[in-house]
């Protein structure tokens, strides 16, 4: 009985040590556990997979900063790779707030390095940040060229060959907001409901529960939730033989699996200890005061 009482009072720093070890080991020596894609991820993947060079552009919107990069950068890069390999014209929007442009640039630079034949202005367009948030979303519905004027590199939009057939939402078959904040709801309110453009979302695991309601009501075409969503997308890309880069999300998943197992183990042991201690106390008539 003494062991369990000491276990229940376990100094939380042992737990911190456990979490650190469990996260670091797979990073140094990957284990490679298998991944099973779920419906929201398959829906988004299949929708994009049905598109082609003629079926309207895909707009990928960057909405994350360094703090949510680990979860969302692999998603944005997987989406960009998927569009480039399928030849779908892709517009990368550098975000509705200034803080995101650095991430957008990092995503597009790293991915376009893997596709040397793809040219800016022909296969993809990179739009910089302009202030206005919902005003920007609304004016994209009228005319992209007049809204942005130039792309991120300063070239006028109407001189870009890819943009000749893309004027506004009616020429965009999907907008995917890769966001760690609540901007996907703006895209639903101002883009989908106002102009009827399809919207997909790639978000952090913490915002995913809130978006299930929009997924269930059909407002979102599909959803990537958290690192598992990114790893599932990478898995679907591999199964189709598309290039997947270093598969950062999948490597991260090994650490995730071990960390989750550790926490579950702690919860179970915690409860086992709780019942043993309580039964012991009831025998001796001590009531455990609820602190």
């Amino acid at each position: 009985m003494g062991f369990w009482q000491r276990f229940l009072k376990l100094d939380r720093r042992w737990i911190f040590l456990g979490i650190t070890v469990v996260v670091i080991i797979p990073l140094i020596k990957p284990i490679g556990l298998p991944i099973k894609p779920t419906k929201p991820v398959i829906d988004l993947f299949t929708y994009i997979d049905t598109l082609g060079p003629e079926s309207g552009a895909v707009m990928v919107v960057t909405g994350f900063d360094p703090s949510t990069m680990p979860e969302l950068m692999p998603m944005e890069q997987a989406l960009l790779r998927h569009c480039l390999v399928k030849g779908i014209p892709v517009i990368s929007l550098g975000g509705l707030y200034p803080a995101y442009i650095g991430m957008a640039k990092m995503a597009i630079d790293e991915v376009t390095e893997e596709f040397p034949d793809k040219k800016s202005g022909e296969d993809y367009v990179f739009l910089g940040f302009i202030p206005g948030v919902s005003a920007v979303i609304l004016s994209i519905g009228i005319d992209i060229a007049t809204t942005f004027g130039n792309d991120y590199y300063g070239t006028p939009i109407d001189s870009l060959p890819m943009m000749s057939s893309i004027m506004n939402y009616s020429d965009i078959s999907l907008v995917v907001d890769v966001s760690g904040t609540s901007t996907p709801e703006y895209w639903l309110m101002y883009a989908q409901e106002r102009y009827g453009v399809n919207v997909g979302v790639a978000c952090t695991a913490v915002s995913a529960p809130a978006y299930y309601a929009f997924l269930q009501s059909g407002q979102f075409v599909g959803m990537l939730g958290g690192l598992k969503g990114a790893a599932e997308y990478e898995e679907l890309m591999t199964r189709k033989g598309y290039p997947t880069g270093r598969r950062n999300a999948t490597i991260g998943m090994d650490s995730q699996s071990l960390a989750h197992l550790l926490i579950i183990l702690l919860i179970i042991l915690g409860n086992v200890g709780y019942f043993i201690v309580r039964r012991g106390e009831r025998k001796q008539g001590i009531i455990m005061r609820k602190r």
Partner: protein, 209 residues
């Protein structure tokens, strides 16, 4: 094994370790990182305030042609906040506060009604497409029961007796399931933050992988 040679990466790595030292116990290294962080972030906020707000919204429209003299009124209202410095006139600050808080209250009411209430109610309507299969019908009914009992749990002005009490007890079950689910669902997000930092330390700083 190529350890980073960039001074910036070293600064970032040291700051990271100083914050993590807090997990062991509060110590001068954490305290240093804490105060650097508070100072830098306040400096950053002020810079953003200056470039994104004061210059484009106050200085330029006022002092550069075409001068927008109507800006004098909001500035006067803003100046009234200085009343707080004097004992006699500290009631002056009530005017800009009333304007700011009252204005936003009015602005938020319709948005709240629309996105937090009407949109949620509209989505709870049981449309026929939800009754396509036995499975979806049971789910539709479960959602309806969950919604109604949760709302009943949050009733303030009715004693929780017999029928009403039973509904509230069902409501708390749905609420606890929702909280447990959200908690479990978020573990992954938090762990991935740590993975990100560990990748920075191991790959960028120490260059192991």
């Amino acid at each position: 094994m190529s350890i980073s040679t960039s001074i910036w990466v070293w600064i970032a790595a040291l700051l990271t370790l100083m914050v993590y030292s807090f997990l062991y116990k509060d110590n001068p290294f954490y305290r240093l990182a804490e105060h650097i962080f508070m100072g830098l972030s306040l400096g950053y906020t002020l810079t953003i305030l200056w470039y994104n707000y004061i210059i484009p919204r106050v200085y330029e429209p006022l002092f550069l042609p075409p001068h927008q003299w109507s800006l004098i009124f909001p500035i006067l209202l803003g100046l009234m906040t200085f009343g707080i410095f004097s004992k006699k006139y500290n009631w002056l600050i009530k005017y800009p506060l009333a304007f700011y808080v009252g204005g936003y209250a009015g602005l938020r009411i319709p948005l709240l009604l629309q996105s937090w209430i009407i949109r949620q109610v509209e989505a709870s309507f049981l449309t026929p497409d939800k009754f396509t299969s036995v499975y979806s019908s049971i789910n539709a009914i479960l959602i309806f029961v969950g919604l109604v009992t949760t709302l009943i749990y949050f009733y303030f002005s009715k004693k929780r007796e017999h029928g009403f009490g039973a509904a509230a007890n069902v409501g708390i079950i749905f609420i606890m399931v929702a909280f447990g689910a959200a908690f479990g669902y978020t573990v992954m997000a938090r762990i991935s933050l740590l993975i990100g930092r560990m990748q920075f330390l191991i790959q960028e700083w120490l260059g192991i992988m």
